[in-house]
Subunit: 328 residues, 2 copies
């Protein structure tokens, strides 16, 4: 089968590429071709499975049509600009996060008008579709009242995905990812960056800034769990989803204090001493509006799995990014 | 103030026009100009308030920009193609119901980029945003899982309205209307048409077909109540709405049996004898997926009012459409 990843150069896209190449198959079906699309063509990994890098900006009209011209059997659509950028640049956010996705759906539909074509489309949505007032544990059937343009764009894409699926134009499934920790690599500009930073930097002998209180609670999964969600979504029977094509993925609801305690168990006080508490009211206010816990029984019943303790999340980072070497 | 009605030629648009001209004001503010837009320019009523008819198809690029070029203070956006047509013609439904509304929001935003402009926009959404599985009384904070493209388009417009309002580009409020009965005039092709027909035709001495069981329950308000919702939405303080800019309007949850009983109280058995029961499985199946009851305490607390019995609905029809003359 031919697999297309849109947004293949990002952290999740690269890990997904590696996982697909390692597995060599989706369920029972061999992968015989992998197309890796991103705004800048991703570096093609060396592998026996032919891998084609493509430079593709989904916000440019016609690009989606080109991407599906060869009728990939399975499409992962991970491409998006992040929350902060979508808020700062209203037009760009709508162009990429909404119009880009809609163009992709339309391109798939037009392919199907020529000859039968209904690929599985795995779309990464976000818990940013939910906004205040939030119950203690947010169920899948709660209304979407996003507090950002990014969340609005994701919520709209969920609706489009469901309608295009209902009409038989695509076999879509959306997954709302938890905040992914521990992200490998350098600190990024996301307001949520510190959740990864306070594990990653100390485990690499560097200082990390913690801008919020230890009591702050949030919703987490590891990059490894995220890849597991994507692969499971690629093979799942979508019939039981009905019109509710997007699911909140399972995750771990934990406080900063629990996160720091896990760090201490792996890195000792040598690691936790590297966390510098520097309250930042702007970040604290942003984070205060974020959801803290979800009722994900629907996803769990469908076989999606996530970590159940912060120790598991830290262990996944040490195994996957530090070759299993814990510091100290 | 200058008021613009988009979709002014429809049943609700004409009644709203008449109500605005009769009131002559919105709250404390005199109406000094009324622009009536529809695909075909509406017939301008004779009135001391200058009324300008405009032929405007919102699905044509540039039309929205023209409509807001004179910066109306208050905009009612009632234009849409109905559920059945949006389902039959996928492209047309999205072009009018989604892109038309988005173009309008964008045109307002661009007006505001030149000089401050943030008009009140009253948007008619639909209970079609809700789909199975439905609780016995649907609350405002239930997730949108529309079962039609029309419902999808309305749900997307609700999200856009909220985001554009949050960003300060427009002062938007959406209202989800119940099924409007008794619609005056000729039978239309809507699957819901019989709900009006079985009152209207018998009260005018004509036969009406009832395609569903007497036990079928649905959600109703009169045209008079709908105009009341629109006028109230035009003056309401939107600050308490927060990010939840669209409300399900109050209505009456009633069965066909209750509807027929009300008809009998006004028209006697001479009227009810004119109802011909002719079960139609297709219509029965469509109607079975429709919501039956809503929890509208949010709208009620904000002062929206609807009928509380089917007698009130029949009485409104007789008073408003038959000059108060009941038959028989």
């Amino acid at each position: 089968m031919h697999v297309l990843i849109i947004g293949a150069a990002g952290m999740v896209g690269r890990k997904l590429t590696a996982a697909l190449l390692e597995a060599g198959a989706i369920g029972e079906e061999q992968i015989d071709r992998l197309t890796l699309a991103d705004v800048m063509a991703p570096e093609p990994p060396l592998h026996r499975i032919p891998t084609v890098p493509v430079a593709a900006d989904l916000s440019i009209p016609g690009v989606a049509t080109q991407l599906v011209a060869e009728r990939p059997d399975l499409i992962f659509h991970l491409a998006a600009i992040v929350s902060g950028e979508a808020e700062a640049d209203f037009d760009k956010g709508y162009a990429i996060n909404l119009d880009g996705t809609r163009d992709l759906l339309e391109a798939i539909r037009r392919q199907g008008a020529n000859a039968p074509y209904c690929p599985r489309l795995v779309f990464t949505s976000s818990i940013a579709v939910f906004g205040e007032p939030l119950p203690p544990a947010i169920p899948d059937d709660m209304a979407h009242t996003p507090l950002t343009s990014y969340g609005t764009q994701k919520a709209i894409c969920e609706l489009l995905l469901a309608d295009y699926s209902r009409r038989g134009f695509v076999d879509g499934i959306g997954i709302r990812l938890p905040t992914i920790v521990v992200r490998p690599g350098k600190p990024n500009k996301a307001a949520s960056g510190f959740f990864s930073g306070i594990i990653r930097e100390p485990l690499n002998g560097m200082e990390a800034v913690l801008p919020v209180e230890d009591s702050v609670r949030h919703w987490f999964a590891s990059p490894r769990a995220a890849i597991g969600f994507l692969l499971h979504a690629a093979t799942l029977d979508t019939a039981p989803l009905g019109q509710r094509r997007t699911l909140t993925m399972p995750g771990l609801s934990a406080t900063i204090a629990e996160e720091v305690a896990a760090l201490e168990r792996f890195g000792g006080s040598a690691a936790t001493r590297l966390i510098r508490r520097e309250p930042d009211e702007t970040i604290a206010r942003i984070v205060a509006g974020w959801p803290q816990n979800f009722d994900t029984r629907r996803a769990l019943e469908l076989g999606f799995l996530a970590e159940t303790s912060f120790d598991d999340i830290v262990r996944a980072y040490i195994e996957d990014e530090l070759d299993g070497n814990r510091p100290g």
